[in-house]
């Protein structure tokens, strides 16, 4: 089968499977996962492709098992991955916290579904807080990509492995049920690693070449030692914020109001923007591509010249809080949030844009 993967060509592929193929191309040596909808096609794809490539695939006893297998595989210096959807991601948070503290590179995917609790299996972005705030216990962050189409799922999976290795930290894609399930043409780019990825030789375990015994741990009982470890992480995070923040701006130059949206929502927002422009409104779009690091500075600059922003998200104001933090009181930040599988309609957004433009000076317009 592997010889049939037409690298460099355009193919029609499901989002979940595109991430799987990108991981295979990027040299992922082990995939560990537990079934959960709507990401099952990714696990199924890897069960075939990883074995074809002579690599490791385990359907684990639980999401907890999967993330801890990643912890082990990353500790011996191999690329590895797990994927899940919201309830399963809650289970993985324990392991992600240990991975963050031990500075191990692990890449993972959350195909977000409706919650809280068992919720439903419909598309959602309600794990935004969980993803961008670290998610588990303790002081740490995870690099979070928010792709908007199947091509980006493929590209950012490859980039995700590189960035995880570059900074030795957990890195993830936050997708949603639509992105995971939809098919779209994409070009299966050949994997080209980032230049100057650091060697793992000085920290990976079980390598006879290292002279002194190594220790991978997240336990530092003495307070100054643990505080310094966390401060070191946060100095690294500052570096990442400087180097890796990604976003896209569309038609913001003359805009009176700017839509802020990521992932699937950014596409619906873009359709709404086009319709609103036809109706005479001057609307732009700001799309965060990395959700952590969040593009706060460019949003803040935009707030200097735009009077209104309208956040559209598949959650009830989670990213809205980040936009408000980024822009301070410089601009009015309105909210169109849907939840638990509700999808904002294009016409609803256009209507909301008009309401926002018509709002009184001290009024923030929300749809709920």
């Amino acid at each position: 089968m592997s010889e049939k993967i037409p690298i460099g060509e355009k193919v029609l592929m499901k989002g979940n499977e595109a991430m799987g193929e990108a991981a295979v191309q990027a040299g992922c040596m082990a995939y560990y996962g537990y079934p959960i909808t709507p990401q099952n096609e990714l696990t199924a794809y890897m069960s075939r492709r990883m074995l074809e490539e002579g690599r490791i695939f385990i359907q684990t006893e639980s999401e907890i098992g999967a993330i801890n297998m990643c912890y082990g595989t990353a500790a011996v210096g191999e690329r590895c991955m797990t994927s899940s959807s919201s309830p399963g991601m809650s289970l993985k948070q324990e392991g992600i916290s240990y991975i963050a503290s031990a500075s191990l590179p692990v890449f993972f995917v959350n195909v977000n579904r409706g919650g809280p609790g068992l919720g439903n299996i419909a598309p959602a972005q309600s794990d935004y807080f969980q993803s961008t705030r670290g998610g588990g216990h303790g002081d740490y962050r995870v690099i979070v990509f928010g792709p908007t189409n199947v091509q980006e799922l493929y590209d950012f999976t490859m980039l995700g492995f590189d960035v995880a290795d570059k900074y030795r930290m957990p890195t993830m894609i936050l997708a949603d049920g639509i992105l995971g399930q939809m098919m779209e043409p994409l070009v299966l780019h050949e994997y080209k690693p980032l230049p100057d990825l650091p060697s793992k030789a000085d920290w990976r375990l079980g390598d006879p070449a290292t002279k002194d015994p190594l220790l991978v741990t997240s336990l530092v009982l003495d307070v100054p030692g643990m505080e310094q470890r966390n401060l070191d992480l946060f100095h690294k995070y500052e570096e990442i914020t400087k180097n890796e923040t990604r976003y896209e701006e569309v038609d913001t130059d003359d805009a009176d109001i700017v839509l802020v949206a990521y992932g699937t929502c950014a596409r619906i927002a873009r359709s709404a923007m086009e319709q609103a422009r036809e109706e005479g409104m001057k609307v732009g779009l700001f799309r965060p591509i990395t959700l952590w690091p969040f593009p706060s500075d460019p949003l803040s600059k935009l707030a200097d010249r735009v009077e209104h922003m309208l956040v559209v998200e598949l959650s009830l104001g989670q990213m809205w809080e980040d936009v408000r933090l980024a822009t301070g009181l410089k601009t009015k930040v309105h909210l169109h949030g849907r939840t638990a599988g509700g999808i904002p309609g294009q016409a609803d957004i256009v209507e909301h844009l008009q309401k926002a433009l018509d709002s009184k000076s001290d009024e923030i317009v929300r749809n709920f």
Binding site: K10, L12, T37, P38, I121, G177, I178, Q181, M182, M183, E184, P185, T264, R267, I268, R270, S271, E274, I343, G345, Q346
Partner: protein
């Protein structure tokens, strides 16, 4: 041009395959396309559906609220989706399994006796291909030739030559209804 299409029927009628064939053909013809299946827990006796967008420019929203075209394979699907069609749009429906008329008068209606024709061709399991052939020949969103020469092979590889031939025949018979 942006055309939003919804295929709907019951599980087992090959609804998802119809959508994938349209999307694959669009890609082969260098058009932009997205395909999105209804997914979820097992739903017996309900409707299965998927949506496809074919466009000559970038596709923003992949969601289909108001389809331009619906390809309806059974009664419950007509009940569910009749009202969603854009005024001036198209309803293709399977009269073999639906014995009522379309109520709306602001849309175009095209009737296809999909199961009966498929039976004549060789198997009622090709009813989806009859429907697809009619749609393609009528609206030319994609070319029949692309389906016959490229998409079937790509999306149905592994099927026996007998099944493939049946599908090709069913597509052509469907197309002949619209000529």
């Amino acid at each position: 041009m942006t055309q939003k299409i919804r295929c709907a029927g019951f599980g087992g009628q090959g609804i998802v395959l119809m959508g994938r064939l349209i999307a694959y053909s669009a890609m082969v013809e260098d058009k932009h396309t997205t395909f999105f299946p209804q997914y979820g827990a097992a739903m017996r006796g309900g409707t299965a559906n998927c949506s496809v967008i074919v466009a000559d420019c970038d596709i923003a929203a992949p969601t289909v609220e108001e389809p331009d075209v619906v390809l309806i394979m059974n009664g419950p699907s007509l009940d569910k989706f009749e009202d969603t069609v854009k005024p001036g749009g198209w309803i293709f429906y399977n009269t073999s399994l639906i014995d009522r008329e379309v109520k709306r008068d602001d849309v175009n209606v095209f009737k296809v006796a999909a199961n009966e024709i498929a039976d004549e061709v060789g198997s009622s399991r090709s009813a989806n291909m009859v429907m697809l052939g009619a749609f393609v020949a009528k609206l030319r969103t994609i070319e029949l030739d692309t389906l016959l020469t490229r998409s079937l092979d790509a999306q149905m590889h592994g099927k026996s030559e007998r099944v493939m031939e049946l599908n090709r025949k069913a597509l052509k018979r469907g197309a002949s209804l619209a000529e």
